[in-house]
């Protein structure tokens, strides 16, 4: 069964460092998303991406964040200068149609900022 894969599963970084989280969505999907879950808190929407551009983003998704689909298969989330409060589980998701009908989530990448 096709699945969304995310790497790394866990990354530890120093505050101020750049981090790139990678996702390989399901191959025929057209809509891509990043969500995050800070420990003990709700899963929060960060950004949606369609047709090579951001279609919607939350107030969390500030200038420190960017997304890219560099090669038609990977979908990346970059955090330019990490803060302690960026520590969270980051989930990538994809959907074949406009996302709300069914999102397929990856297992998540845990980011720890020290």
């Amino acid at each position: 069964e096709p699945e969304v894969t995310q790497t790394p599963s866990h990354q530890v970084t120093q505050m101020g460092q750049e981090v790139i989280l990678r996702c390989v969505p399901i191959s025929n999907h057209l809509y891509f998303y990043w969500y995050r879950q800070i420990l003990g808190q709700k899963v929060e929407f960060l950004v949606s991406f369609y047709n090579n551009e951001i279609s919607e983003k939350s107030e969390i998704f500030d200038d420190q964040f960017s997304v890219e689909r560099p090669d038609g298969s990977n979908f990346t989330l970059k955090i330019r200068s990490t803060k302690l409060e960026d520590s969270a589980m980051y989930f990538c998701a994809s959907s074949i149609v406009t996302g709300l009908r069914e999102l397929f989530f990856g297992e998540g990448s845990r980011l720890t900022v020290l």
Binding site: K42, V43, R101, F105
Partner: protein, 113 residues
């Protein structure tokens, strides 16, 4: 803005007992409602969804949820749980025209033998 409240953070039950996981939402517009399940060390998986039509929706593994507009609820039920149902369950809401899912905090269901 939408919000979702899952009143129970943890629900322990015995195998074969019925269970109800509660979800209430707030929204000023028409919504779509979802339940996602997360098994240990896995990603979120869609369990069931309400988009329109019949207010009672069912999953393939025996769960059901009923959309109640007057009570702004979308509670998840199963008449007889199995140990394999042990997981965290997330209720989520979205509105037409938005790509954003708003999640509740999740309910950890633990089924004991």
């Amino acid at each position: 803005a939408q919000s979702v409240t899952q009143l129970d953070s943890q629900v322990p039950v015995f195998e074969e007992a019925p269970v109800e996981l509660r979800c209430n939402y707030s929204s000023s517009v028409s919504v779509y409602l979802f339940w996602y399940v997360q098994y240990p060390n896995q990603g979120l998986q869609l369990l069931l969804k309400y988009l329109s039509g019949s207010t009672l929706v069912e999953s393939i593994n025996g769960f059901e949820a009923e959309f109640n507009k007057s009570q702004t609820s979308f509670h998840l039920r199963k008449p007889s749980v199995h140990i394999s149902d042990t997981a965290e369950y997330f209720c989520a809401v979205s509105r037409s025209g938005s790509e954003k899912l708003v999640f509740g905090k999740g309910t950890k269901l633990t089924v004991n033998p």
